[in-house]
């Protein structure tokens, strides 16, 4: 069975900027994710397709369903 998360229901306040900006201060999980993304960014250029423009242009699919 899936792991159960015991997360507290947070107050339903809406922050319109929250997607565009970094995690609110004090958000531990947000900071952890940001740190992990930062680590990935340090090494990501090694796995990225070498010529981004060619790669994007040449990825052409026949339409499907």
């Amino acid at each position: 069975m899936p792991e159960r998360e015991q997360k507290k229901k947070q107050p339903a306040t809406r922050d319109d900027q929250v997607v565009e900006e970094a995690a609110p201060p004090g958000s531990k999980q947000g900071e952890k994710i940001k740190a992990e993304i930062d680590d990935l960014l340090d090494e990501i250029d090694e796995v990225l397709e070498e010529n981004a423009e060619d790669f994007v242009r040449s990825y052409v699919q026949k339409g499907g369903q």
Binding site: E5, K9, A12, D15, I44, Q61, Q65
Partner: protein, 494 residues
Amino acid sequence: MAIRKVCGIETEYGIALRGVGESNPIAASSLLINAYVAEQQRKVGWDFEDESPGRDARGFAREGSMAPEVETHLVNAVLTNGARYYVDHAHPEFSTPECADALECVRYDKAGERILARSMEAARRTLPEGQGIVVYKNNSDRKGNSYGTHENYLMDRAVPFGRIVRHVMPHFVTRQIYTGAGKVGSEAASAQDVPFQLSQRADFFEEEVGLETTLKRPIVNTRDEPHADAQKYRRFHVIVGDSNLCEVATYLKVGVTAIVLAMIEDDFFGDVDLSLATPVQAIRRVSYDLDLSLPLELADGRRLTALDVQWELLDLARKYAEDRGLECVDDEVGRDVLRRWEDTLTTLESNPMSLSGKLDWVTKHELLDAYRQRHGLDWDDHKIAAMDLQYHDVRPERSLFSRLPSERLVDEAAVELAITEPPEGTRAYFRGKCLQKWASSIVAANWDSLVFDLGTDPLRRVPMMEPLRGTAKHVDTLLQGSTTPGELLEQLGT
């Protein structure tokens, strides 16, 4: 009480042949699947007798438009896990076996990714040095060409189709806030200033209801192929979803939709009517609204956000669980889906970024945005578009998704098992086990039948019109007691 929501996911993968100038996607897809099948097992042909993709669930025959193709001449394999792996519309497609609940669906959807990854390895061994096939689990080439990830759910035939349409439409328009796989830019002609959107597919929906799947795509698809007793069952076919890599997103997509359909089947909506004034416009509005704050106009004049609509559905689902129970989606899984659904909506309102690793659109957005900011790039930079594609690369060493932490709901050993073993709680068990034991005597397999060639008699067809018969509980003794397919058929009395 609603009937068991037996479910499945059908994924068309994007495909590219590397190391050659021109490539034919149908040939590449065939090569990919053949390479896997040759390494894994003897190939079993698919039996098309009961395929009728042109039949319409609204009860009338098609007129004046072209019937969807069934490409009978193309590669088509049935695997020992009960899945179908074949070439469809110039894409390799993996259809999970019939699953008994959403969690099982997650496991077989993941097994599909592993099978595609192994297929690429197998294909590489047959191709000249420097060539290779790469597949992507996404839904668009960013140039206006889309390919689908479909879901299917077993429903009672007696439910009026109009009732399904009325209540499932607002769910399909708004569930993108957790099912969306994220996309940089837009492929809709009318779209302006869309740096990033929630969904891969929203750009491609032009109708509310219809039979098409490849053009003028409808939000609610009416394809009526029950692949089971047509008097009793409908197999509700969903084409509006994105392909997900996050297990939590797949789990919510299938789990919540199964509960919504159960509520429709039990006519539990009562006075609750969330019908939208203009669903086709609304599906894009939701997809383009990263703040999840824009209101949608309802048919009755109310204005609700996508989140509001999902909260209303969740409230109703909680009452449904209390009144009727959730046995039809597996009680334990159903209750877990309700908890996660609530957690997800709450977090989407307060701190969506923390859903990275749970929802694909958030995971992708956070990665791309961080890269963009570090290197001072705009959203329309080629590098960002390339990363959007590479997020979905199925090769573990190249997949950007795989490099990020994500929450697992099924452990890798269970996924590994699902590559070759069928689910135990549906007729897929009978199909898969017969293929494991007697592949050389099975000349054709379909969702609802197996055809045996015993060498002497005419071909013998075993119908499987009940998706919940042929389970491990039903047939294990029978299968273990039969050493030859002839003995099996004798005991079955066919």
